[in-house]
């Protein structure tokens, strides 16, 4: 069964303290690994899609990487405005919809 697991569930950082969020997946024929940011009461905001192992994408303080079994979202020198829930999702070769993990809730304090 296809599955996406995120860790940790919650992460508290000080402003400027870099860290990484993990997304492990077991999906047959991965056709995209997606990262979203979700603020309370809002819909998920698209961040990145990664398609093949070794691929990396960056946006401001965020960098996403992909291996054959997992993806990492690296946050460099985070700011309080980076506080949100980060969702990881995968799409398999046969499907069109996404399989979501439960998310990591990030809190960054100044």
């Amino acid at each position: 069964e296809d599955q996406v697991t995120q860790s940790p569930e919650a992460l508290r950082l000080q402003e400027g303290e870099s860290s990484s969020l993990n997304c492990s997946y077991t999906v047959s024929g991965l056709r995209g690994l997606f990262w979203y940011r979700q603020d309370p009461g809002k819909g998920p905001e698209f961040l990145f899609t990664l398609y093949s192992a070794g691929e990396e994408k960056e946006k401001e303080r965020l960098k996403a990487t992909l291996t054959k079994k997992e993806s990492f979202l690296h946050i460099t020198a985070p700011k309080p405005e980076d506080s949100a829930t980060y969702l990881c999702a995968a799409r398999d070769q046969a499907g069109t919809a996404l399989i979501f993990g439960k998310g990591t809730t990030l809190s960054v304090s100044s």
Binding site: R31, G32, F34, Y36, G41, K42, G43, P44, E45, F46, T49, Y51, L87, A89, R91, T96, A97, L98, F100, G101, K102, G103
Partner: protein, 116 residues
């Protein structure tokens, strides 16, 4: 990326009633999806809204409870029927432009439903 709007943004409803949620996209899209996000949980796919044909439902979701319409390539509705407090969730519309094999998927702002 497509701009997606949903109506209503939130509602409080009584048990046993029904609510229809609208999803409007600013461009024609091939695939539209409806997800549910229960309190403290991640997103679960309810169904894929197919233009011109019946929706395709995921395991655990049925048409009588969640009827879906897709009259054209920019609009869809989801109805939550005969509601109970367990239906209290955020309902999210998403779109996939379907132009190639590797498609990005974008989400609307969501409809927060509370059932009393």
């Amino acid at each position: 990326s497509a701009v997606i709007s949903q109506k209503p943004s939130r509602d409080i409803c009584q048990r046993g009633t029904s609510l229809t949620i609208q999803c409007q996209v600013d461009s024609q899209v091939t695939m539209m999806f409806w997800y549910r996000q229960q309190p403290g949980q991640s997103l679960t796919l309810i169904a894929t809204a197919n233009q011109g044909s019946e929706a395709t439902y995921e395991s655990g979701f049925v048409i009588d409870k969640f009827p879906i319409s897709r009259p054209n390539l920019t609009f869809s509705t989801l109805t939550v029927s005969n509601m109970s407090p367990e239906d209290s969730s955020i309902y999210l519309c998403s779109v996939d432009d379907g132009t190639n094999y590797y498609n990005e998927q974008f989400f609307g702002p969501g409809t927060r439903l509370t059932v009393l």
